[in-house]
């Protein structure tokens, strides 16, 4: 039976038992437990089983309880191949010293979470008790408190009634003796909680409270360090300082502490070495040094400037800034915003570029159209000069006639009246021609407006008619009555009409005069478009050239540049219309274009 049990124990992976003097639910214990469970296997490198026991010997500080627990632990872990025992706090160390030999004989002990000051009270620890204490005497915490509160005149040192409480009291008294503080020190030791609270309630900021909390008050009421600390802080009119890590965050301003994690990590390392077979006596390390650690909320509460804290202080519980809390979200958001801003900027730049490009294109179109108009008008200059010279000649004749009539001395006033009114009419005729010419030659940017297409055709038709008669071409116009208003640039549309008409007349130049006919007609094709057609009676356009005649430098004329129709296409396309050529029904060609109707034209 025994052999079998031993065999079972030997086959189990090495076990480590952690003994906590208090109970499981304390946050500090939860942290310690999870740290050890993580770090011990890390340090050992092989499978290891971690066991935790919570002695609760602080609250139940009796020999009877301890014995019961010791027996229980012995029974429970007898065959668990326990290779190391970890004990917490002075109270845990005490328990190990008393019961280790019965509970787990010859199992080395690693003590942790214990102050150097407390460790001194344990004289002559056995050789297989190893560990490292934290060097955080109460002196340092007290002097920091005094530095931060230079006006403080009294220090209240609060301790409880349990053995650990009394141990702390002893340590504190020794520290005060060493420190000889400028303030008066009063010890509130082992008082009932109610009384402690009553005393603390009366305090002002001219005092400092120094306490690690207590396990048991003068009435024998048990509590955790955190509970008692919270109670004190909730009523105290003076700031509370402590050197232990456990109560930081429960209302303590701060102190010179050793972070619990550091101590536990070191203990885990020791356990790992012991499991590896190291001799306990070889494990000797200097004590851990503490750091100044404060609670930001309490600093704020007591109006303590962080700049006055000792160099290298750690301030915990800083209200996390949005940056700390949502750093990645902020970074990502900022990045997205930046990208978005860049994108918007790019779009704006692009828009501006496009705008100026459009503007440039409109200007170019305007210039090109103007040039082409000048060329077209140059082509019909003979017709134009005739248009002008007719009225001018008539004016000259009338003036000459009037002169002679006056010289003749006969009564001629009636005739003179007629002559003068004719002169005026002819003068008007001439200026109309010039006005039309100027309108056509005006260099303007492409601008879409409402245009009466028929009126525009009639206007340019005068030039066309003049040119047509000069070229012995019969011109007919067939304008659809009530043609709706179209959207376009009047001058440029007229230019296209002129180009198409000249093109048609050119196409017929080689044939007998009596067969030369050109017709300009307007139609409403549908609800959206009006159409203008120029029909000539020339030889027509070869099928293969129909599609190409609107391309630049494609011409059927020996002296043509082939630009007129290409510019016409550019203009019509800028209007959102179409331009194309067809073969006429009988003979000749039809050149047509469409332009969109104005919005008011829609029924």
């Amino acid at each position: 039976m025994f052999v079998a049990a031993s065999a079972v124990a030997a086959e189990l992976p090495p076990g480590v038992l952690i003994l906590y003097p208090d109970h499981l639910t304390l946050p500090s214990n939860v942290m310690v437990d999870s740290t050890l469970r993580r770090e011990v296997p890390n340090a050992y490198g092989k499978p290891v089983t971690i066991y935790s026991e919570f002695l609760d010997v602080e609250k139940f500080a009796s020999a009877e309880h301890e014995n019961t627990i010791a027996q229980f632990v012995r029974q429970k872990y007898r065959n668990r191949n326990i290779k190391a025992l970890v004990v917490m706090a002075p109270r845990g160390l005490e328990f190990a010293l008393r019961h280790r030999d019965q509970v787990l004989p010859n199992v080395p002990v690693v003590y942790t979470v214990i102050a150097q000051e407390a460790l001194r009270e344990f004289n002559d620890l056995p050789a297989d008790f190893v560990g490292s204490a934290s060097n955080t005497p109460d002196d340092e915490s007290l002097s920091v408190a005094l530095r931060l509160h230079p006006t403080a005149r009294r220090i209240y040192v609060v301790t409880g009634a349990s053995p650990q409480d009394r141990r702390w009291e002893r340590q504190m008294r020794r520290a005060v003796e060493r420190l000889k503080p400028p303030a008066e020190v009063e010890y509130l030791s082992g008082l009932p909680t109610a009384e402690v609270l009553q005393r603390l309630r009366a305090l002002t900021t001219e005092s400092i409270v120094y306490s690690h909390g207590y396990y048991e008050d003068g009435d024998g009421t048990l509590s955790s360090l955190q509970e008692s600390t919270e109670k004190m802080v909730s009523v105290s009119g003076a700031p509370l300082y402590s050197r232990i890590h456990e109560t930081l965050g429960y209302g303590v301003v701060g102190g010179h502490v050793t972070p619990r994690e550091d101590q536990v990590n070191r203990a885990a390392a020791f356990v790992g070495r012991l499991l590896d077979g190291a001799v306990p006596a070889d494990i000797r390390v200097p004590p851990l040094t503490g750091v100044h650690m404060f609670d930001a909320r309490q600093l704020r509460r007591w109006g303590i400037d962080e700049a006055k804290l000792p160099a290298g202080s750690i301030v915990k519980f800083k209200k996390a800034t949005a940056w700390q809390l949502y750093r990645w979200q902020i970074l990502v958001t900022a990045l997205l915003l930046l990208l978005q801003a860049l994108f918007i900027a790019a779009l704006l730049i692009e828009r501006r570029r496009r705008h100026s490009a459009e503007h440039e294109a409109r200007k170019r179109l305007g210039e090109m159209a103007h040039l082409s108009r000048s060329v077209a008008l140059g082509e019909i200059s003979a017709a134009l000069s005739h248009e002008l010279n007719q009225p001018l000649g008539a004016i000259l004749n009338n003036a000459g006639a009037a002169e002679m009539l006056i010289k003749s001395g006969a009564p001629v006033s009636h005739q003179l009246n007629e002559i003068l009114s004719d002169i005026k009419r002819d003068d008007q005729r001439a200026s109309d021609v010039i006005a039309r010419l100027r309108a056509m030659l005006r260099k303007s940017e492409f601008e879409i407006r409402d245009v009466d297409l028929n009126a525009a055709v009639e206007d340019v038709g005068r030039f066309v008619a003049s040119e047509a008669s000069l070229r012995s071409v019969a011109l007919r116009m067939q304008l659809q009555p009530d043609l709706p208003i179209v959207r376009g640039d009047r001058v440029q549309l007229q230019q296209v009409i002129l180009n198409l008409a000249l093109n048609g007349m050119d196409a017929m130049s080689g044939q007998p005069a009596e067969t030369r006919e050109i017709m300009i007609r307007t139609d409403r094709v549908n609800d959206a478009e009006a159409q203008l057609s120029v029909v000539d009676s020339g030889a027509g356009i070869p099928e293969e050239k129909l599609a190409r005649i609107f391309e630049p430098f494609v011409t059927t004329k020996p002296q043509g540049m082939g630009l007129g129709l290409s510019i016409s296409r550019t203009i019509i396309e800028a209007h959102g219309g179409r331009i194309w050529a067809e073969r006429a029904a009988k003979r000749g060609a039809v050149l047509r274009f469409t332009v969109p109707l104005g919005s008011t034209a829609s029924p």
Partner: protein, 215 residues
């Protein structure tokens, strides 16, 4: 022939121009007949009376040059003054070659226009006078008998009486008698005058044309 006051035919499609030129010419004492188109002039115009034509070269449907050709075909004698809204060199050359009397560019000053009209009218009356003379000469020539006409043609071609007699198969004396009658009828007194008479009426051309056509 009847001698009447010259009238100026204005052919121009521009009503305003027609009216103004009519006024100017009227004020200068001329009779004016205005036509809207070449067709109208060809149909209703009368080219027999003295005057001249003021013609716009560039008119719809039928250009001035075409009218000029049509008139020439009708052996019109009226001088034509061309008017054009634009001085187009090829067009003016064509017009002048075809017998234009003047070529003016609109707008034209009254002086220039009236001078051109005067020149045209002077040419017209001169041409008419010449024409009348020719008609008179032609009438006298027509008064010759067929034999006398044959003898006349041979005389102006420089044939001697003897040669003519031989050619016509009669005596030299008969020829002399014909010659005397011819000079009497044509009212000429020398051989030189007879030759110039024949040249003026184009008798020799006619005869040679007949000769070349006959065989």
């Amino acid at each position: 022939m009847t001698v009447s006051q010259p009238s100026i035919r204005v052919v121009d499609d521009d009503a305003s121009w027609r009216l103004s030129i009519t006024r100017l010419l009227n004020a200068s004492g001329y009779k004016v007949m205005a036509y809207e188109s070449a067709e109208e002039f060809l149909q209703t115009g009368d080219c027999s009376t003295p005057g001249c034509i003021l013609l716009d070269v560039r008119m719809p449907s039928s250009s001035g040059l075409q009218l000029q050709r049509s008139l020439a075909a009708q052996s019109n004698m009226l001088p034509i003054v061309f008017l054009t809204g634009h001085g187009d060199i090829p067009m003016s050359v064509t017009a002048m070659r075809a017998g234009a009397d003047d070529f003016l560019t609109k707008p034209v000053s009254s002086e220039t226009l009236l001078q051109a009209v005067q020149r045209a009218l002077a040419r017209d009356s001169e041409r008419r006078a010449q024409n009348d003379e020719n008609l008179r000469l032609r009438a006298r020539l027509d008064g010759l008998t067929p034999t006398e006409h044959k003898v006349f043609v041979l005389i102006v071609r420089g044939k001697l009486n003897k040669q003519i007699a031989y050619e016509l198969g009669c005596s030299e004396r008969t020829i002399k008698w014909h010659r005397h009658n011819i000079m009497e009828k044509l009212r000429v007194d020398s051989l030189a005058a007879m030759v110039s008479y024949a040249e003026r009426l184009g008798v020799l051309d006619d005869e040679s044309r007949q000769e070349s056509a006959s065989p």
